[in-house]
Symmetry: C2
Subunit: 673 residues, 2 copies
């Protein structure tokens, strides 16, 4: 790795303006974070958790009217209140993610009252921390004697990791190290118990997360031991004999999630489920639980970058290639089965049985951001954008009041209701989940979105994502102000106004889908240049007031899947710019699987300012397969098929399921005329 | 219902000759029944049960090297041996089905040694019976205090029903009433405990079966109380308040299968699962566990026929219509989900997630046989034949040594292995199952196949199934000998030689698929006649030696599904005569979902006497979708698709998975040239 000054932009350096992300950011600030606070404090009593995804909470006893019980758990652990723990064993992480999101929000938008609330919570967290630094309300309340005995299942390091991320974020936002100190004590306790030394346990977390969090702790504190511990967890994972086998026997084969995964809970899911089947360096494919894979890879890239570990980085590149070439849905969703929320095998991408967890696509953004901090390849940003603008955004309703955990590419509400195999594929977003990982994960990603827009590399500004914003970016040698105006992702024109003179580079991502048709003008003069690794480099002596106008190809286009994806053979999807489109029943009538898009049919766009928050529809003349002559026959020969002409209306995938329960499909039959 | 003399032919009246069913019958006699005996007696130690279908036996403790432990359970219950019960709570039914199958075999082929073995078993069963007539080894050994407290889950009546069927069969085969007397005592005990009287419990079985068995007991003994009890169970089912709710509370909410269906076992699956959501007369659709549905409907038709209950019969007709018009696979498989082995909703027929349990299609044959005893409609026989020649036959390997429980229409072995949603879809047949209902069910159906061929109605012989056989049929007024020669289902010509002179009718089924093209000649003279309800009636004064020659349309044909079956839109299947065909990887290369059959491609047949026991292949020029230009891309636009010409070889579905693990598909993409 070339040693360069490389960093993502800081949140407080970028102010997101109007447009889609302005709206979403406001929603998160004004609607989602306050709502999540009500959930965490159990004041949103009407938010009945939806348990369709996992049978988690029923057996956890969290079905008694508490949306969360999360803050109550901390109060009980702190001795402030009497009571029992309720919720998932990883319930603490809901508060951590909220704190992290609020910290990001405070960076871009200080708020003394909110900061006071956070300080009070941190004080509570401090009281819930044990004398030796241990912090986890489940174990403190329920099983203090069993700390660190079931890393495979019990998410102690996962919860600690999330709280470390919150601590680093709050420190960055406010300069206050109160939570950071608390989490240093917890990190030190973990470090005292786990590591390569003979007197320590040679373990690692069942659910990765603490690795990337320890890197943030290292960056916040400068303490190298945190980076070393992250590296230890990355290196130890997958070594034989497996730590989780040893630990399993040591605790007498007890298990936490046996009701969910019999007979031994998550341990029964085997090594691939938690990515310990092989050392990470030897892993060629993402296996098992998709969210864990993304967090693992994110931490691994961090460690590789900071330690100059090319071998580890190569493994991460290989995993990336495997994912984007064989195991990712068009929408940037990952995870092909609801069973243990896992990857399955290459090209196995069923559209109706898909998991496509919102958290997994959020995790994919974490992974891409880190890869971009290592090497500026537009493909990473293309993938990040694919996840963000399709699956991540679809994870939340347009009003910010309901959320998807699972993001299907094909839904029939009747089948979701009547066929238990599809019970996880909800046709409408519930207000809250028994296992509530996705909504707060979305919040922290949206509030930290400014970090994803730019990567700074020495004196080059790489623009990864296009959205309205006003940025003040710290390059190696100077600070640069840049103003971006655009209606992206709805329109393909992006205007940058340079507000700082100087010699530096502005590198504009040319997405793969626009690589054959794009224009860049600087002060109305066409720039000819070659795109390197997905970016057009504009290197010149900038004057304040220079205007760059980027125009990408927003002609709606047909997209096809590799024919090894058996479920998509003979089908076509529509994309326009970065947005994947879909058909919904409300626009096109029910029976979407009977619709054909002729191969030569013209695709037209129509701006609909009042529809779904303002979108461009894609319209096309389609064909609807008519009933057979004998409508009652289930099977027939000598059938003369007839097709009815129909106008098809495609909408951006992220806007689906905002108009009640109906069918949806991304992939549509294609017909040769 | 017109009061007529109607009956299916008796087993001892029909001797199946050469051809497919001669071979299968011999296999069952020489291979399957002896093998099943070895299983029942735990002497087939190498038959490791396959638990992929249900996690049943692991928790039952039957994973210790016993293939079955079935006979051992009877010995322990009888006090002959010491030990504990092992196996499913319904393990007794395996022995019952074997006894029933052996009885049928003895009808067509007496065997003193085998009869002696059966007599010994009956003696053992007698010793295992309790003083009050109770018979069930699970409850006798494990929970004697809990008899009849969990009808919802515990299959006591189901096991009793199967043993009653065996008793009636053995009585019919040998004239010996030893087992019949045992089962009369058990039936009397059930009758003493359940019924409309105030002092009895108003229950009914969780898994239907005893209803049709009690009808057989009535027919064997002439005791009207058994018919009345069957009618009671049929009528009581679905009345409110639900008996299973009452029973559940009475036993303190204890459950037997909680490990399989948390938290309350099969009770948790709800009323539809066990068809008690509505009184049978009010049911319009088959709901829940598909095998139970078939057994329920079979018993209901029996009761309706014997009691002249038109309303009940109409309900059964309605359920039949719903099934064949909306809920049945092309192969005669039923059950669209592995979850609780259930029907789901109209037109929801996923080919890869299908259950299509062998037992359910065997049960469908029971249902069809009984409908044919009420009214001679060829559609019932068409459906029976669809189930028999496709799903039922596919349930067993060509060598009779391995069995399918699940019968998919689309298999990719890699996905079956790597995607847990498809773990139930095995690409090769296992030798035995932890839950071993299907193999013995196949055996009893095959050994009783003579009963399915003919329905006698006054002096008309309805020929439902075509296969080589020599029959001596008892009509109302005379006995008729009829000799049938044919290579059906491989060839479409069937030759009948009348061997008894007289005035009677011979009614030949003209299957719906041949309704436009068939010929019948009597002594070389074409017969013109109209087909009524699927049968061509030949009424004349027959002379011994008259020859009837039926020729059906065996031109291979394209079959399409109703477009409401979303998974089959744009796809075509091949049938030839009654046989559904499929593609296998071994003949066509892997990647079957990339294959297209052009709409106009000629379908040719080729006889392959040495292949798969002798079959007619169907061959056609097909097209294989080639890789995209960039093979590594997962998604691409501007794709020029290319197709490689390939010769496709279709084989009969029932012969699939006999040449190792490979892909298979019934439905193939169709392409307009």
């Amino acid at each position: 790795m070339a040693k360069k000054y490389i960093a993502s932009a800081n949140i407080d350096e970028v102010t997101i303006g109007d447009g889609l992300f302005g709206r979403v950011s406001r929603l998160v600030k004004e609607q989602v974070l306050p709502y999540q606070w009500d959930i965490l404090t159990d004041t949103a009593k009407d938010a009945v958790p939806d348990h369709s995804i996992e049978n988690f909470s029923v057996a956890e006893g969290n079905d008694e009217g508490y949306p969360s019980h999360c803050l109550a758990n901390f109060k009980i652990a702190a001795g402030d209140e009497q009571g029992d723990f309720y919720g998932m064993v990883f319930q603490d992480s809901d508060l951590a993610k909220w704190l992290e999101a609020v910290s990001y929000r405070l960076m871009s938008d200080p708020d003394a009252e909110l900061e006071k609330t956070v300080d009070d919570i941190i004080s509570l967290i401090g009281r819930a921390q044990q004398a030796d630094g241990y912090l986890n309300t489940y174990f403190t309340i329920r099983e203090p004697e069993n700390r660190f005995t079931n890393l495979c299942e019990c998410h102690e390091m996962y919860c600690a990791g999330h709280m470390m991320e919150a601590a680093a974020a709050y420190y960055k936002a406010t300069g206050k190290d109160s939570l950071l100190k608390i989490m240093c004590r917890m990190a030190d306790l973990i470090d005292a118990n786990f590591g390569p030394e003979e007197n320590k346990r040679h373990g690692y977390p069942g659910h990765e997360e603490i690795e990337l969090a320890l890197v943030k702790m290292y960056q916040a504190t400068g303490e190298l031991k945190y980076l070393n511990l992250a590296k230890y967890f990355i290196d130890e994972r997958g070594k034989k004999p497996y730590y989780f086998d040893i630990e399993f026997e040591q605790r007498g084969r007890a298990s936490h999630f046996s009701y969910l995964y019999p007979p031994y809970g998550m341990y029964s899911n085997g090594p691939k489920y938690a990515q310990y089947h092989l050392p990470i360096r030897e892993q060629k494919t993402f296996e098992g639980h998709s969210v864990r894979c993304m967090y693992m890879a994110s931490g691994a890239v961090d460690v590789a970058r900071l330690t100059g570990d090319e071998e580890l980085l190569d493994a991460c590149r290989g995993l990336y290639e495997n994912m984007v070439q064989r195991r990712m849905y068009l929408t940037g969703g990952i995870g092909s089965t609801p069973k243990a929320e896992m990857f399955t095998s290459d090209y196995d991408l069923p559209n109706d049985m898909v998991y496509g967890e919102t958290c997994a696509s959020v995790g994919m953004m974490f992974f891409m951001k880190r890869l971009l901090e290592v090497e500026q390849k537009g493909d990473y940003a293309d993938t990040m954008e694919r996840a963000l603008l399709n699956t991540c955004l679809a994870g939340m309703s347009l009003d910010g009041k309901s959320f998807f955990y699972v993001n299907p590419l094909e839904v029939d509400p009747v089948v979701s209701r009547e066929n238990p195999d599809r019970a996880h594929v909800l046709p409408v977003r519930p207000a809250w989940f028994g296992c509530a990982c996705c909504p707060p994960n979305l919040s922290r990603m949206i509030t930290s979105l400014p970090e994803y827009i730019y990567t700074i590399c020495d004196n080059d500004i790489y623009v990864n994502l296009y959205m309205e914003n006003q940025a003040t970016l710290k390059l190696k040698d100077q600070e640069v102000k840049l103003d971006t105006r655009t209606a992206y992702p709805h329109e393909g024109t992006v205007q940058f106004t340079v507000q700082t003179a100087g010699d530096y580079g502005i590198c504009l991502r040319i997405p793969a889908w626009s690589s054959k048709d794009w224009t860049v003008r600087v002060n109305h003069v066409d720039v000819k240049g070659s795109v390197q690794d997905g970016y057009l480099h504009l290197d010149r002596r900038w004057k304040s007031g220079d205007v760059i106008m980027l125009t990408l190809d927003f002609t709606p286009r047909r997209v096809y899947a590799n024919p090894r994806v058996s479920k998509d053979v003979g089908k076509v999807a529509i994309q326009r710019g970065p947005l994947v489109y879909c058909l919904e029943g409300v626009d096109n009538g029910e029976g979407l699987q009977r619709i054909y898009l002729p191969k030569e049919a013209e695709l037209k766009t129509k701006y609909q300012p009042e529809k779904l928050g303002g979108i461009y529809e894609v319209r096309a003349p389609g064909l609807r397969l008519m009933d057979m002559e004998d409508e009652t026959a289930l099977y027939a020969s000598d059938v003369e098929w007839n097709y009815q002409t129909t106008e098809l209306t495609f909408i951006p995938y992220y806007t689906w399921a905002n108009r009640g329960e109906n069918e949806m499909t991304v992939w549509v039959h294609e017909r040769n005329m």
